[in-house]
C-alpha cells in the first residue's frame, strides 16, 4: 500500500472511534523523530477525514490517504513538527 513511502511505524487503531483515533495517533507520532512517517490503519470513516485534518492542524504532513477496503483506510503522516510550545 505504501508504494514509495517508507513507513517507520504502523499504528493499527481499527475498532477505535473519535476522538481516541486522533489521541492515539498523536501519542504515537510524539514519540517519533522528525521526518519519520507514521502509518495509521483505521476502520472509522470519520477518522479517515478527521485524523489527517487534526494532524495538519498540529503541523504534521499528511503524505497520503489510501482507502484499501469498504471500511479500511491507511493514513500516512510525516512528522514535521515537535510539540507546540506556547
Amino acid at each position: 500500500m505504501a508504494d514509495e513511502i517508507k513507513v517507520d511505524k504502523t499504528l493499527d487503531i481499527k475498532g477505535q472511534v473519535c476522538p481516541y483515533t486522533f489521541v492515539r495517533s498523536k501519542l504515537a507520532i510524539e514519540k517519533m523523530n522528525l521526518g519519520e512517517t507514521l502509518e495509521i490503519i483505521t476502520d472509522h470513516k470519520a477518522a479517515s477525514e478527521n485524523v489527517p485534518k487534526s494532524m495538519e492542524n498540529e503541523g504534521q504532513k499528511v503524505l497520503k490517504i489510501d482507502q484499501t477496503g469498504e471500511n479500511e483506510w491507511h493514513l500516512f503522516v510525516r512528522k514535521d513538527k515537535e510539540k507546540v510550545k506556547k
Binding site: 481516541y20 514519540k31 492542524n57 498540529e58
Partner: protein, 278 residues
C-alpha cells in the same frame, strides 16, 4: 541548532485508562502526551485544604498531578461545608488533610496525596515545601501568607498565591528571581485589628471556587510552561460587578525579602490574629 527529539525521552507509557482519562488534555496542542507526562510527574503542595485549597486540589487531582501535598491541621466543621468542597457532611470532625486525601485519591488513583497535619511555622515550613515544585497558598491569615512567601523566595519555589474576601478575590503568581513577590506588593502584614478577621468578614462560597479554579489553572500552566502567567500582575475579581481587573506589580528593588539587599534573611512567625476559621 535544532534540538533533536529523543524518542526514548518518555520514561513511561500511558495505560489504557490513562489514555482515556487524559484524552481531553492530550488533544490540546499545548499539552499532548508530553505535557500530560509533566503533569503526572509534578509535585504541588497546598497550603490549606479550605475554601481555596479544596477546588485547587480537586482540579489538580483530576488533571493527574502525581503528588499533591496538603498542609492543614484543622478538622472539618459543618460551617466549612458552604465552600470547602473537598469535604462533606460525613467527614465532620475528620482532619481536613485526611478528608482531602480521600476525596482526591478517590477521584484519581494516579494521584498520591501526602498529608502534612501540622500548622506551618518558621520551624517546619522549609522541610515541608522543599520536596515540591510548586506551592499553592490558599491560607486564610496574614502570618501564614508572609511565611509562605518568604520561604518560597528563599527556596526559589514557584508560588501561586490567592486570597478571597466577601465577594472578591485576588491572585498572583510568584516566580522568585524573575518577578515580584508578595512583599513587593504589600511589604508587611497589616497590624492585627486593621482588617476584619475572617470570622467577621464572610465569604460567598462560589467565590472561593472561582479563585481556586483560576489558581489551579495557573499551577497547570506553570507545570507545562505555557501561556503567560500572572507574573508581575495581580488579578482582581469582583463577583458583584462580575469584573476582572489586572494590575501591574513591579519588582521592588528595596523589597525586604527579594530585593537587592534583603533585610529579612530568616523566617518570621508573625502573631496569629485570625487563627480560627469557623
Amino acid at each position: 541548532m535544532k534540538k533533536q527529539h529523543n524518542p526514548k525521552s518518555r520514561a513511561m507509557e500511558f495505560t489504557e485508562d490513562q489514555i482515556l482519562r487524559y484524552s481531553r488534555h492530550i488533544l490540546l496542542p499545548e499539552v499532548g502526551g508530553e505535557g500530560q507526562e509533566k503533569i503526572l510527574n509534578a509535585k504541588v503542595v497546598l497550603v490549606g485544604a479550605g475554601g481555596l485549597g479544596s477546588p485547587v486540589g480537586y482540579y489538580l487531582a483530576a488533571a493527574g498531578v502525581g503528588t499533591i501535598g496538603v498542609i492543614d491541621n484543622d478538622r472539618v466543621e459543618i460551617s466549612n461545608l458552604q465552600r470547602q468542597i473537598a469535604h462533606n457532611t460525613s467527614r465532620i470532625g475528620v482532619l481536613k488533610a485526611d478528608s482531602a486525601k480521600e476525596t482526591y485519591e478517590t477521584l484519581n488513583h494516579d494521584v498520591n496525596v501526602v498529608t502534612h497535619k501540622e500548622r506551618l511555622s518558621s520551624k517546619n515550613i522549609m522541610g515541608i515545601i522543599k520536596d515540591y515544585d510548586i506551592v499553592v497558598d490558599g491560607s486564610d491569615n496574614f502570618p501564614t501568607r508572609y511565611l509562605v512567601n518568604d520561604a518560597c523566595v528563599m527556596l526559589k519555589k514557584t508560588l501561586i498565591s490567592a486570597a478571597v474576601f466577601r465577594f472578591e478575590g485576588q491572585l498572583m503568581s510568584i516566580f522568585p528571581g524573575e518577578g515580584p513577590c508578595y512583599r513587593c506588593l504589600f511589604e508587611i502584614p497589616p497590624p492585627p485589628g486593621m482588617v476584619p478577621s475572617c470570622q467577621e468578614a464572610g465569604i460567598l462560597g462560589a467565590v472561593t471556587g472561582v479563585i481556586g479554579t483560576l489558581q489551579a489553572t495557573e499551577v497547570i500552566k506553570a507545570i507545562l510552561g505555557i501561556g503567560q502567567p500572572l507574573k508581575g500582575k495581580l488579578l482582581l475579581w469582583n463577583a458583584l460587578e462580575m469584573s476582572f481587573r489586572t494590575v501591574k506589580v513591579p519588582r521592588n528593588k528595596e523589597c525586604p525579602v527579594c530585593g537587592e539587599h534583603p533585610t529579612i534573611t530568616e523566617l518570621i512567625d508573625y502573631e496569629q490574629f485570625c487563627s480560627m476559621s469557623h
